[in-house]
């Protein structure tokens, strides 16, 4: 190693390599720098957004649902805070121990809690796992007291429906439930996410956009484990809009009570506007159960009950109108000129057409009968004889003019159209021509004819007000919270039936006699103080076997349906009532008393008013509160509403079952 260090060290050859190495190193550093430039300066925004997304989570705050009032300002559907117990899993070191403790406090099985814990683990990391829903006051306090021993346990508030007047008009109001996959695919539920709670039936469903409000959200910063580090921003939810219904709570209560456990439906209309004053379907259900969350057992019971408590018979129950339809036949005959009020017929108890005998309900016959007597005593023979001359098409036309045979456009699911048959319909439906015997059946409201209680009430209202068919409506007013505007529903005339006044007057006299003259079929249900008019109906069930889907042939099933349509007072009528009692046998004995009770209440003629009292004062749930850690902090939980309707011994199912309204 003998080098001349002064001149030749290192060699020019080596120096060149040093230069190369330095330049190469510098170039590679420049390359690194260029990459940094690309990341930090060119794609800066892109990565900034990604880092924001990384650390921020949006937690929705459920909006208060719009409240629903009756026409007099009684609160029908409100919100109350429900307290859920949830656990932030990052803060739990030993789930076994925690679940054990909670199991004691909540009195829920350990296995059940474990199941909920495992189900909840599917939620995103930053969402607490719900373990108990809508716990009552006592449990709430127990958990608050034990906060120190329950790391990660939170109380979450969410608004749920409460019903200050108890289970009033549940079919009308409807209920809520978790959105189904099917609903999610519908355009009306655009923007909803799985797990959202939506209206499933009744007004809750049809008025969903009005009632739902706008959910708020809380933007929180989370760490990689999803633990919330701090709240960045809170967007308060916007409560839903307020609905005022045309319903009259006390009248509704009377109508519901009057059924006394029988299955059926009743509709009360204001004859001058079409406002629905009461609408009930029996048997009924308790909507508070739905608000709380149904147990599987409760849901199965509702589903398998042969009386189908979830079906809204007032709009989706289709019944042959029976003798009530004689009003239509009479008007059609008068209008067609084939009969006058004085047309007289001798009733021997039956008539024969070809080789078929058509009976009057009164085997002995009514003797000489004119229109007045025919309506009053509901003589079938008078109508058989007249009907042949009128013909089915003119009867059907009159029925349609009075609002039968088509849906009336209530904002509810499952409103049925009923059925008004004529020649064309039969040709189309069965491909055969119309038989004259079928006209006779139709004339007394049997055969193919089907009507809903709502249609019967609408028709009766038209008779009462001189022929104007109003579209029945339930929503009186919508108050929009956002811009504080009010939308009133104006009465809508569907059409005016052309009923020459003398004919109408003759029919109305007959209807008046039904109730107010001895021998009238509803004489037993008359109100001395307030004469009203009406028509009984009895619909045969046996002949309609093919309309009944459930073929359990129990005797109850064979009994006739009892119907009654009425308007009151007889002079200058104000309200129209239609009542159907399923398998009630006779309109006069089963349905008319219910209508009487309703009318009596409406005009203040019943004994001390049975105005329903609120079951419990329900303070409106305040703004949903941030989940509060369960520590003995001065921050008290939300003022708890005095425990609603009933204590809840049952733990609700995490997912509300999907109710189906149709049969």
């Amino acid at each position: 190693m003998n080098h001349d260090f002064q001149t030749d060290w290192p060699s020019p050859y080596t120096r060149k390599r040093f230069a190369l190495a330095s330049v190469a190193a510098a170039l590679i550093f420049v390359l690194l720098l260029l990459r940094l430039w690309q990341l930090q300066i060119i794609s800066d925004d892109h990565y900034r957004i990604l880092s924001e997304k990384n650390r921020t989570r949006y937690i929705p705050i459920t909006a208060q649902r719009g409240r629903i009032f009756d026409r007099d300002g009684n609160l029908l559907a409100d919100n109350r805070p429900a307290f859920d117990v949830a656990v932030l899993r990052q803060e739990v070191d030993n789930p076994e121990v925690l679940l054990e403790r909670l199991s004691c406090l909540l009195s829920v099985d350990r296995e059940e809690l474990l199941k909920r814990w495992n189900t909840g683990k599917r939620l995103p990391q930053y969402r607490p796992i719900p373990l108990a829903w809508d716990v009552d006051r006592d449990m709430l306090e127990k958990i608050l007291e034990n906060g120190v021993d329950l790391p990660g346990v939170l109380m979450e508030t969410r608004p749920v429906r409460s019903f200050p007047l108890g289970p009033l008009a549940p079919h009308l109001l409807g209920y809520l439930g978790e959105i189904t996959d099917k609903d999610l695919s519908l355009p009306e539920f655009k923007g909803y996410r799985p797990g959202d709670v939506v209206g499933k039936a009744g007004l809750e469903r049809k008025m969903e956009p009005v009632l739902c409000g706008v959910d708020g959200e809380r933007r929180v910063e989370v760490d990689v484990k999803g633990k919330t580090m701090r709240i960045l921003k809170t967007q308060d939810p916007q409560p839903g809009n307020t609905l005022t219904l045309t319903l009259q709570a006390s009248l509704q209560q009377v109508a519901e009570n009057a059924f006394n456990g029988q299955a059926g439906a009743a509709v009360v209309l204001d004859v001058h506007t079409g406002e629905i004053l009461a609408i009930t379907s029996q048997p009924t259900f308790d909507p508070a159960q739905f608000a709380r969350g149904l147990t599987t057992k409760e849901w199965r019971e509702l589903q398998t009950n042969p009386l189908k408590p979830l079906q809204n018979r007032a709009i989706s129950g289709q019944y042959p109108p029976g003798s009530i339809f004689k009003i239509v036949t009479a008007l059609a005959a008068l209008k067609a000129g084939v009969a006058t009020p004085n047309t007289s017929v001798f009733c021997e108890g039956s008539v024969t057409l070809g080789n078929h005998t058509f009976r009057c309900w009164k085997r002995g016959g009514h003797g000489t009968t004119n229109l007045h007597k025919a309506l009053k005593e509901s003589c079938d023979v008078w109508f058989y004889k007249v009907a042949l001359d009128v013909g089915i098409d003119r009867i059907a036309a009159m029925a349609r003019e009075l609002g039968l045979g088509s849906a009336l456009g209530l904002p509810m699911e499952m409103e049925k159209e009923g059925l008004i048959p004529d020649r064309a319909w039969k040709k189309k439906r069965y491909g055969t021509s119309w038989y004259r015997g079928e006209t006779l059946n139709a004339a007394i409201g049997q055969g193919y004819i089907l009507t809903t209680p709502l249609q019967l009430a609408t028709m009766t209202a038209a008779i009462a007000n001189g022929g104007t068919v109003f579209r029945p409506h339930i929503i009186k007013r919508i108050e929009y919270t956002l811009n504080e505007t009010v939308e009133n529903t104006e009465p809508e005339i569907l059409h005016r039936a052309s009923l020459p006044a003398p004919y109408l007057a003759a029919v109305r006299k007959g209807l008046e006699a039904v109730v107010n003259e001895p021998g009238g079929t509803a004489w037993a249900s008359r109100l001395e103080q307030l004469p009203f008019a009406g028509k009984t109906g009895t619909a045969q069930v046996v002949k309609l076997r093919d309309q009944i889907k459930d073929e359990k042939l129990i005797p109850y099933r064979f009994r006739d349906h009892a119907l009654f349509a009425a308007y009151a007072p007889a002079q200058n009528p104000e309200i129209a009532v239609a009542v159907v009692v399923e398998h009630g046998s006779h309109g006069s004995s089963a349905a008319a008393p219910i209508a009487k009770a309703i009318i009596a209440h409406y005009f203040g003629l019943d004994k001390p008013p049975v105005a329903p009292q609120p079951v419990a004062p329900q303070p409106v749930a305040p703004q949903p509160v941030a989940p509060q850690p369960v520590t003995p902090q001065p921050v008290a939980p939300q003022p708890v509403a005095p425990q609603p309707v009933a204590p809840q011994p049952v733990a609700p199912q995490p997912v509300a079952p999907q109710p189906v309204t149709s049969e």
Partner: protein, 365 residues
Amino acid sequence: MFDRRLLTHFDWSLVLLVLMIAGLGILNLVSVTSSWVSPAAPFSLKQLSWLGGGMVIVTIICAIDYRRLEHLAFFLYIANLVLLLLVLLVGRTSMGATRWLDLKFFNLQPSELMKIVIIIALAFFFSRRDQLLGYSFRELWAPFILLFLPALLIMKQPDLGTAMIVLMIGASMALFAGIRPATLAGLGLLASGAATGGWFLLHDYQKQRILTFLNPESDPLGSGYHIIQSKIAVGSGGFWGKGFMKGTQSQLSFLPERHTDFAFSVFAEEWGFVGCLILLALFLLLVICGLNISRHASTRFGMFLAFGVSAMLFFHIVINLGMVIGLLPVVGVPLPLFSYGGTSMITTMTGIGLLLNISMRRFKF
């Protein structure tokens, strides 16, 4: 015995560079660990003590004339090779890799040691002859074996990162020594052939890392997670950075390994492009400084030794940064002086000590 001239020739600027980089590293560590539940001794203090230990090593190394290593090179190499073999036989296994020898009071990582020893061994080999025309195939088989024996042993542990660093140090030293153009071309062909063949020898997780590197979004929660989160951290830093202790990616723990291999992403997130520019400049200066010491070394052995150390620093820096900013696959290579960790600190400081040693003895007389 002690030559006062040695002190006057001491390269203080290199020490200053080292302290600046390590200082930034510790500052960064303070930010990373600020939200951590503190262990007995905070990470920043531990790192500081490693740095102190490193300075002691530097001092010891400087005291001994590096030229003595020339005679020890063969012995050191053999000893280290034995240690590597021992690792495979009785090494301590942690996280799927067997890299450590348990010496009771501390865990020795012979592969780290090999980074320095291979430099000494190759410097010894190349310094013996100045091949003006460049080395030919026939002359290269010895360094080839010197290099590949330890590289294979390390790869077997498995520790792809360290093996690659060892190979790259060797390759760059050979290149620096000079290779005949024809030989170079032949070696290039051989290397690409070996790379293709080597793919099949890789462990699944190693293949996965390379595949993930090519398309990190294919597995965002698995092996792609590191790259994606690191790129987000670096990119979201922008020009000025989010500010000290304000990097959400690191403070909220989205970044994995953020105090060790991915420390630079934290720095880039909080200090932005400006900070990166400064840190990169310091690192480049460090490498250039090393090359400069090599250039002015008084012996060929010193020259190769200093070059090897510079190469080691350079490859560590480039592979780590390349990985963090998504230019290279994820391999566990720490950023010298900057990442938390005693092993890396000791290896780096040993190298720095060698550089200072060579620098202060650049005048023979």
